[in-house]
Amino acid sequence: MTPKRKKRMMLIGLMLAGVAIAAGFALQAFNENLMFFYTPSEVVAGEAPTGRMIRVGGLVTDGSVQRQSDGLTVQFDVTDNDKTITVQYTGILPDLFREGQGIVAHGQLQEDQLFVAAEVLAKHDENYMPPEVADALKATHDAATSDNAKKVN
């Protein structure tokens, strides 16, 4: 290997190492920022981790929205028509938030099963159902109908 080529290889090696290190950091950050989605049933069954950012979603139960005296902290129930969990959020809810509407919330699950949301998303289309929520509802529905089918048999 000529000295010139050696120098060249070293430089290229350094560049590659730099990119690799940066990519390593990026991938590590990637893993830390993955937010998994859990349905209310999964949360009740204890499958969701506490103390980590996760997402939950479902329908806001009718009549469950309670506002505390500061006017900003809100509690409401979210259901997948099977199990229900309570979500607490401080701040201004999105325009399309209302009872009976499908929502997705980002936040952390507390030890006492209260879900403290950092952000609540209700999509811009009022007919819109977050796909995760739609799937969760469908799963509940399917389970219910197959149960019924069993009963009939």
């Binding site: 940066a22 990026a26 990637f30 993955l34 989605f37 900003l72 201004i92 325009d95 811009h124 289309d125």
Partner: protein
Amino acid sequence: MIPELGNFALILALCLAVVLATVPMIGSLNNTPGWVALARPAALGQFTFLLISFACLVNAFLSNDFSVLYVAQNGNSQLPVIYKVSAVWGAHEGSLLLWALILGTWTVAVSLFSRKLPAEVLARVLSVMGMVSIGFISFMLFTSNPFDRIFPAPLEGGDLNPLLQDFGLAVHPPMLYMGYVGLSVAFSFAIAALIGGKLDAAWARWSRPWTLIAWVFLTIGITLGSWWAYYELGWGGWWFWDPVENASFMPWLVATALIHSLAVTEKRGAFKRWTVLLALLAFSLSLLGTFLVRSGVLTSVHSFAADPERGLFILVFLCIVIGGSLMLYAWRAPDVTSGGKFDLFCRETLLLGNNVLLVVITAFVLLGTLAPLIYDAMGWGKISVGFPWFTAMFVIFTPFLVFLMGMGPLARWKKQDPADLARQLRIALLVSIGGGVLLALPLFHKGSVSMGLAVALSLWVVSSLLLSLRQRFRYRKGLSGVLKDFGARGSGSYYGMLIAHLGIAFFIIGITSVTQFDVEQDIRMSPGQTVDLAGHTFRFEGAKAVRGPNYRADQGTIRVFNADGKEVAVLSPEKRTYTVQTRPMTEAGIDAGFLRDIYVSLGETLGNGDWSLRLYYKPLVRWIWLGGILMGFGGLLAAVDRRYRMASRPETVAAPAAAERLATQSRS
């Protein structure tokens, strides 16, 4: 009657697209001048019929023809005229028609402004654009026809989504589409060059202005979208890393790499294969973006309708385009001669470094965007990738990008002595480190370290640009020499670069300042109550009911006073309910300024005249869009550079590359 005319025109446009995609291409391959000559009239015909078709749809909206399903869903007789027109591209079918029309426009533009191109090259370029056009027009006709009728016709339309009833959103999609579709020109030039086997400096010179213009539209389109999201969604964010935002951002990143790589190919004849690959990649990512938006596979603000049939169509189309072009590339690229030789350290390698960084960033954005799909498909669970990740990734890579960006304009082509460059850049380095440290030191808390870094990077860019300007003027004598320089060949490219890079400097400062120092408060306020925020006093004066042309609203009044008690702004945020769709919408009250924005939006009424309010103080937020505008303007300046219009002497264009090739061959 008129909608049927539109439908018929669309079918004719498809027929002409088929002619355009086949006849000139075949003619160019077996040297049949008569077939080659068909390219131009076919392109013109296709455009004409698309225009007729589009005009018919506009007419249907203006005349409230609710017997057309698309108009019935998205139009309304109460809409102001401007939004009746913009409602045409307010949803899926119509925005596809706009896509096709813009593609037709680009095709005609290429055929009109490339008269100096050899006939068979032009024929191939137009043919490839015709193939893309077939894909989109047939997608429309077979899965999402905007002219479908509904019977019985409703008396009134379903109205345009209120969020879209806004000037920013009337302009944002056409701009963005101009960019997306404009990249098809670069793509078609690359494919044509691969087919012809002639990838030389002339090819780079031809496709360069087109790519630049597409990039300008993309830049402006994204900037507009960000600005719209900021003032219209009512929560003060200007970028959400929403999948569809990413879908527009990825082609932008690759197109940015492409315009720099094209410069090297044109000037030095190097990086040919890389440039072609970038051109293919940029347009493929545009198509991927379209797929993500249209198929509804990803949850997004922008997904109009989830329809598996449509998704499948685009997926197949995507596979054909990407797979076909990559196969062509794999087949032809090995024949491409490697161009100009260059040293290990020179402008070429600096540009290559930035190209690699841009592509790496694109890869990560792609990973973050597609990860939810991949996880779901693999059954690993339903995930979403958090906002902080995308941000972290940018903080990791951008400093390197900007560091190289400062050196690029000063470095020489072909061979650059590193010590020499370091000597030139000494002052820039001192200025930027000094500036960064001075700013970060006195307020050494969390935000100011990032701010110090941002200021250092921006100063690095600005001071190295000034050094490069000084170097340029050294050889121009006096003021008249400097003035003469502005009109010279190649000066558009240079000053365009200068302004676009300046845009990056503003952009970095704006982003960092908003991210680190913005102040936000959600609060419950009674009429007459005041609250202090970021050195200002906000007084809530209560809210009253007002009525707009097609909505009712509660309009709040907030007076803002500065530290001296002087009134600086009266803001009137609104909570609107549109009469047709009855959905509430927040209209923020914003006092815009060069140094800061004050931003207020109404939450909910809490009884007794109390409201929950969201108050923001956003320092330097306008610099983000100012940066985008500067980048767009710089790109425009570069695109209209005189030398692209003087390319009537192809021999002078090709000469350096030819000489290079000779030299390469004799050496090997």
